[in-house]
Symmetry: D2
Subunit: 340 residues, 4 copies
């Protein structure tokens, strides 16, 4: 069959860039990666060799000026995202960009304006929306299975804290970790948050506190429609990556558990037990990384709306900013204060 | 065997009073109910007849002045508790009193002072501490099974809202419903709360709002030791009484589910399902109502500390007051503001 | 209230006799125990003292000739059951008899004939029929929730093997242990078994083999209506008493788990675990021991059919005999060979 | 990287052949499919086009005589397997062959003799051994986690019966369906079966009976080491593909559940429920189809023993033959009768 394939350029060959390269090579027959760039040439070459990508460069501009390329996948460091989106939009490329777009709302706004002006598509990499568990909650709420939502509880705990170097450059727990849960909260409830109260603590590692960050946080969300949500974050769940949610509504509730390598239950003289859940986000969300890129390619090829828009990329950053102010000043903060 | 039995007088023959009468008659061989009082004589007579209680009266004073009575179980309306505690203490009776002691902290303090002066025992009826699930969490935390606690989440949802008449006289959701969860939070974490932020909504029934109350509430607790807790309350869980908790700590987590009438799982062409959880607090907490009275009788007969002290009765009232102020003023409130 | 109470005489004050005495004293307001007999007078006296039973004797005949007694509960050793049933029937008493009625079918037939002639009621103590889990399966099958039953699987494993002395006098695993499961199979499927194939092994304790018995057995049942069942037995499940069943049918399946002291799930660095199931049959089946006696008393007072008839007592003995022949001769055995 | 890849020829482009073609194209970087044959040329061409396989033919001999091909994957109809194994072995190709090798033991023996003579590797396609759930049981038993195995129970139920045409050519339920469970029984217990008793019924569709087959079967296995197993088979589980197992041993038990598309639990006014399990064997065993081919390629490239040997392919056929005789003659049948 000779339908046209979407021709993709990849910017960034780090951990996430590799995942996207593998996805396009193995799991998206309707796309082909034709070039990859990274500041580190040998890293780009290794990924290109592994997945048969013909063009390798250290200059992303070369991919942007390649008129044979239809779409760009941006997996470079966060501080480069906004400028790359602007450049790619001006070059007429459709864009898949890892989250966050930026930590600064005005830079996000510039990027979104460029996208709008160029009439290209932009999808932001909130991959968890494609996870089977969270998608099922979304469907239940959207489809009315549990009635009007009243309460939301998200548990989001990493298995291990990141390095202190990473913590220092991360923008803090609300921008780096809770941001996923802010997106998830909007996705699950299908409504916007109007007020946030956030608190937190340093419970895992004093070094994280010394770096000016928290490792434990609880955020309370008030949605416009009246639902109330809470988010539990910890940087270290000793039993492994813990990613769950529950929505309670007028007609019922839906709750998800973690993902496991097997379903075996072992009964011994001491306990009834099972093996630990999948411990690494790449294992837990393996399918969602594939499905988000499939959805993006599909949206471009068929000119359909993307699943996670530029605005979906902007709002969680505003929520993180509100949470940060709330924590610092120990008071509820309206999103209107931040995002006006 | 002819060991001495604790001779008990029961004040109040309503719903909870009957439970205590049945408990003493059937499940506490070391106690005997020798009298019961209620404003409504026929109600008291019916309970007395059913459980073989020889003395029936409409005047609780008669029981307090009966020198053959060792201990009093107070199940009368809340507004009578403090005065009855004071009178019973002065009469030298040990006291089991339903919660709350009172909604006014100064009246509670008067009652506790009377108890202290008389050197009698006072146990408050926070029965959920005796529930097997919550007790297991308490043991896990106290025994270090999950390390230092970092996060707590309590789900506490009724199956049906109370009558509007009840709502109007209840003191509001924080005093009437969340008060159990405030006690539970202290019991599970083994620490005191220093700051509370509470929010809420009317989601179930506008009549509840018209009565000046909420039917949905979320409360955030900061403990002295650094743990953070959230409490989800709703007056109406359509699938039934929903009472769960989870504590997350440095060495693991412990979470409990609801209680069910059976463990059967049914697979059909449409779903894999089980029957609804126990729907009524008297069914769900049947054993805990027995065990709290056993513990009280045991504490008196063996002169041991009671399981739920007068102070344990006072603090949740202060927490409810703080939550109420927090909700009204939409700001975090330190317990020291209230309970000083 | 002054409705007449059923006046009960208890024969046997051993482990099960005590349970029935406690049940009548505490949990069946419509019955009263007026006498108890045991070969061991002091044992009978102790139980009588504890539960306020006025008459104590070493001669069961005294209870049978007491015209004030309406019904007899037989909890004496198996070899006395048939004669006691006959004597009680002749004395016009209604009878609750522990299982098995006897290990010999002709003696059972004599007992049942006496019961029929006297027109008294006889209920046999297959208490597990009153367990909430097994009753739920029964209801699902009887009510058509899973369609026509095709397959049955029963898991029935003790926590600890009995003493070798007990093994020697027990009649063997099929008569002593599987007999419960034979009754359960009939109760769950609602049909009669026509052929049995049984096999077994000595896996737990060679002493049990030396005593001529098995400690592990698997029995395959063919029901008249075409359903097929298997029963897994072991004398020693190291994780505790294991009592489950599953019925699979044309419209679905229903399966039950074990019973647990609590619903807590603990996540640690090594596993996700819960505490062991209830380990002792008296804990696991506590409610069923109460409910079977309530049902018996109710059947007598209201002249309704008993829940577990004499024939229900006879058939599992025939099934055990067939299983034993099958095991000995290693061939399928038709029940008609045994029970004709 | 330029390590040599295993060059594979695919015989058969039907349902399973496509799965293997996709696996080699997408999931086994160390192998490459260089040719594919099928009686139906257009089917072979379609698969070749989709996965970039250069050579397409209707004659499998062309692949066998292609000296550039290292290994053959046989996914053609069962009756061709033995001859193809013999031809491939003579051509010096390593062989991956779908199960069963044949339904006739002497033809299997001829094939295995050819393999042995040619000193090539042969792996049989019992893919379920690579399923994470069953592998976990295998590891638990092999690693002593549950002590010495005493009892095994396998539930293996299809979601839908095959067509009557398929039933007629399938060799019957024991050869077509239970054969997987015979392999699984050996794999899980790590021991050989010495005696089988099988029974069955027509419960789902009288047409299956008219075709001389059963749609419901229960098989009892006695292992040499003393363990006893049962296998529950049905052609139609209305709630979906049902594939579970439990092994009980001296130190505990291990049991597995089904696989689900999500872990969401939904609470409604009527029940607590979850979505149905994965309904199709290709979904349920997707990963195992990949992992078995990876293991085969790895065994060839590194000259290691294959995971599922020719003998592993032969023994379940002998077990099916014994089960069939047992069913026909309604007696336990020793494997030695069949496989001598």
């Amino acid at each position: 069959m000779t339908y046209p394939k979407l021709r993709v350029g990849l910017i960034g060959a780090g951990r996430i860039g590799r995942i996207h390269a593998e996805t396009i090579a193995l799991h998206v027959p309707s796309a082909i990666a034709v070039g990859i760039s990274d500041f580190n040439l040998s890293v780009a070459q290794e990924v290109a060799g592994k997945y048969g990508i013909p063009r390798v460069t250290t200059h992303s501009e070369e991919l942007l000026s390649d008129t044979s390329i239809d779409a760009i996948v941006i997996s470079s460091p966060t501080e480069t995202h906004a400028d790359l989106i602007i450049a790619a939009a001006r070059a007429g490329k459709h864009i898949f960009c890892e989250k966050p777009i930026d930590l600064d709302l005005s830079r996000i706004d510039s990027a979104l304006a460029a996208v709008e002006k160029a009439s290209v598509k932009l999808q932001v990499g909130f991959n968890r929306r494609f996870d089977a568990n969270f998608r099922r909650i979304h469907e239940a709420v959207a489809g009315g299975e549990i009635g009007t939502p009243h309460l939301l509880h998200i548990v989001s705990r990493d298995a291990e804290p990141p390095s202190i170097a990473y913590v220092k450059s991360s923008g803090g727990i609300f921008f780096d970790m809770t941001i996923h849960d802010f997106d998830m909260a909007r996705f699950l409830i299908g409504d916007e948050v109007e007020e946030i109260y956030a608190t937190g603590a340093v419970r895992i590692d004093p070094e994280i506190g010394a770096a000016g960050d928290l490792d434990t946080a609880v955020t309370l969300l008030r949605f416009r429609g009246g639902a109330i949500g809470t988010i539990d974050n910890s940087r270290k769940a000793i039993y492994g990556y813990d990613q769950r949610a529950e929505v309670f509504g007028s007609a019922g509730a839906i709750a998800t558990g973690n993902a496991y390598r097997n379903e075996a239950v072992i009964s011994t003289a001491r306990e009834i037990k099972r093996d630990l859940p999948l411990n690494f986000f790449i294992d837990r969300y393996a399918t969602s990384y594939i499905d988000e890129v499939r959805a993006f390619v599909d949206a471009v090829l068929n000119n359909r709306p993307v699943a996670v828009s530029g605005l979906d990329g902007r709002i969680p950053v505003a929520m993180a900013a509100a949470a940060y102010v709330s924590y610092k000043e120990n008071r509820p903060v309206k999103l209107a204060e931040i995002a006006a």
